[in-house]
Structures are given as structure tokens and as C-alpha cells.
Amino acid sequence: MRAAPAALALLAALVGAAGAGAAEMRAPPGASSCTGCHARGAAMGALAGRPEAEIVAALAAFRTGARPATLMNRIAKGFDAAESRAIAIWFASQGAR
């Protein structure tokens, strides 16, 4: 099948770029939106490379309202504990950029 080399070449590039499995490199649902605000140099601070537990705790506190916020409370409510944890694990695994 002639398409196979193309797909393989692409995947090789993906795998090479991530240094991990192509499937695993996909950000969990929602994570790609976080970086619209949380980037290097932003007032909101970058999330990449931050400890998983710290992100999980912050999101939980925003969700319950225990931690005051201008808007993270409204965003955190869109993710349950498991979804938040998946996002936290993913950011923690990204080297700080």
C-alpha cells in the first residue's frame, strides 16, 4: 500500500519530536487551551514543568472556591478531578519552556 510510507514518515517525525509514543504525546482534552493564557512570560505563569501535585491542588481549590480567583474558578469547573489530574500529569511531564 502506497500510503503506508507516508504515514510512517509522519509518525517517525511525531515520535522523534516527542521522544515518546505518538499516542502518548497527545495532550489530554483541554490542555491545549490552557496555554492560550499560561505561557512563558505571561502574568498567569507557565504550567509546563510544574509539579503534578501543585497543579492538581490548585485546580481543586479553584473548583471549590477555596482559592480566590478572577477567572480560574470558572475554568476549573469545566474539568472533574480525573480530567484535571490528566492535564496536570501532562504539563508536569513537559520540560519548562
Binding site: M1, R2, A3, A4, P5, A6, A7, L8, A9, L10, L11, A12, A13, L14, V15, G16, A17, A20, G21, A22, A23, E24, R26, A27, P29, G30, S32, S33, C34, T35, G36, C37, A39, G41, A42, A43, M44, T70, L71, R74, I75, A76, K77, G78, F79, E83
Partner: protein, 421 residues
Amino acid sequence: MPRAPSAPTRRAVLGGAAAAALARPALGGAPPRVVVVGAGFGGATAARCLAAGGVDTALVEAAPRYVACPGSNEVVAGLRGIEAQTFGYDALGRAGFRLVRATADAVDPAARRVRLGDGTELPYDRLILSPGIDLRFDALPGYDARAAEAMPHAWKAGEQTVLLARQLAAMPEGGTVVLSVPANPYRCPPGPYERASLIAHFLKTRKPRAKLILLDAKDTFSKQKLFEAAWARLYKDVLEVVPLAAGGQVSEVDPAGMVVRTDFAEVKADVACIIPPQRAGRIAAQAGCADRSGWCPIDPATFESRLVPGIHVVGDAAIAGAMPKSAFSANAQAKVCAQAVIDLLAGREPENPRLINTCWSLVAPGDGISIAGVFRPTDGLLADVPGAGGISPLDAPDAVRAQEAAYGESWYRTITRDVFG
């Protein structure tokens, strides 16, 4: 171990679209190619993500430079210069994909080719359109491209923005400004009301006795309670709001006489900002992706057109359900769409995504409010995740308002750096 991407078993579970893309023989052994049209917030983001994913990508942009709309209401009100909105494409030319400085004239979906203004053709395996909006110069009697020279829309940032700012600055002291707002849907739902706020601030501080009349083709709008509270607090003597129910829909304009008409009244304006109805950028309709509304129905997980397989539409041009037409949305959608395109090209099933939007508005300098939402595909559309999102509290103290204004400005600096820098 990575999952074997080319395993037939894996591919067999995929729907027709993905399999078709992979099986397409036209390009022989060449790696799959993606063309993106429009280097705005959506398209430039998509091209960056595709290139980062190792995809052979071409990004087509017609304009000589990008002039960003977010923040442009501050330019209108004389609070910042147009330079703060203007970005070159040099960095995009070094971002790991091919930047093609040309107009995409036509798409041939059957041959999977994009024809450029000079006749060149770009073949694609998948095409992403992020062409933004076209202003409808056929929708409001009297309002065409020439009328916009007298009565600027300033809804595509650039010369129009500067023109409106200049007209306001030159207006006589006791003058009347008219701002006309269209029915939904249109680019940036809260944008007209931020503009009303900042023009009112300008009049209050710089043109005593002048007034602003907001003629609205709707009765309800984004962040309404927050805007109305701010207007009552700050601009009682400056701003008069005429909603649809009170006859606010503009039915005709006369640019020579500077007259704006509704079914019930006629207003003589010194400055008239007319925001006309809009539709998806021309190329989207040309490609067959727009429906009768003028906008593009899409699959909410992949942003693939519901009308033309192989073409994805993101940003303002798309019908994204509950997600508003914003730069924030365009950026978030482009990331999800690019990942879906990578997945489809690799024969992997795209994930069920989750997207965020946030739009800040200024009701006065340093006084910010916001609306946020979290969205996921539901019944074929992007819908709000229940319980999440919403607007800033009505009773927020000044310090929080100032913080929101600062976060909004920080977002603008980050997003424009990440997209164009």
C-alpha cells in the same frame, strides 16, 4: 512502544474520511501535505502546530501585515496607537513551514488543490481554512464599501480603525456619535459594547456635552449585566442605548448626509460607526463550505466541514455552537483542529476535545470584565460544559477589575507573541 500507526487493524476501525486521506494515491510516496489559508489567530496557530507535529505545511496569507482586532477599541478611543496592533509575518516565515504570500483564489475540493492569485496551484491532503470574516456590503441599504469611508465599521482592524479614531478626535465638542450593532452572529460578541464603553469614556473626558447613541439590532448581548452596570455608574449622561425593542435596528444609512435611519427615527450623526452584518471569508463559500447562513458548519471534534470532506474550518468562519467568534476561540480551535488533522493523516482516531474561551473587555481604562466558557462536542455542536464558565461577578471590587484588565492585556501580549512573534 508507540502504537503501530500503519497497522491495518488500527486503520480499519477508522471512518471513511481518515482512511481516504491515507489511501489517497495522488501524491505517491510523498509525505501528506496540509495547506492552511489565512495567517490570523486561527490559521497561523494551526500552521505552527502542524509544523511542530512534523507535517509538511504551507500557510497562505494575502495581507502585507496583520493588524489585530483585540485591543483595537482602545485605538478607536485614543488610548493606544495602531502600532500596538500591527505585526509582520517575518517570524512566521521562519517557523518551520512554507509561508506563501498570496491570495487563495479558489479551492478545487475534488482535485484537492488551492489556486493562488498568480495561478499557482497548491495540492493538499487536508486543507484548513481560517479566513475570518467578510463584511456584508449588501445587507444594509446605503452601506457599501464606499459608505464605510464616511461611516467606518472598524470591524477589521487597520485603516478603518485609524479613520474612526481620527473622526472622533476631530469631532466638534457637542457632537453626536452613532454606533450601530448588528444581529447575531458576528465577530466578537462583546466587542461593540466594549467600543461603546471606551467611546463614552473618550467623550466624557475629552468632548464635554457630546453624546453617544448605541443603536442595537438585539435586546440581549454578551456580558450585558456587567456592561449595563458600568454604563449606569460611569456614562449615564453620555450614552443612550436603543435596543431592538425600542426601535434600535438600523434600516438604512445615508453616508452623504451622515444620517442613520431606523424604522422609527432618523439620527444626524457627526461620527457614525456602522458595524454591518458579516459572513465567513469569501474563500470558505467559494470552497463550498458555507451554508445559507453564510457561515461554515463543522464537526465539533475535528472542525472538518460538514459540507466538504478534507476541508477543515476554524475561527470566525466556523459555526462553533456555543463558542463565540473570538481570537481566543480561533487559537484554541486551531490547536484542536491541527491535532485532529495530524491524527487523521496518521490513521489515528481524533480525541473528543475540550476547548476554552475567555474574552476580556474594558468598560474604562484599567477596568476589566470577562466572560469564560469551557466547551465540548454535544449533539454535533460545541456546547458549554454545564456548571463551568460565566461572567465576572457584578460586585467585584476595583482591585479585581484592575487585575482583570491587566490579565487581559497580558493575554494579548502572550497570544500575539506566540502567534506572530
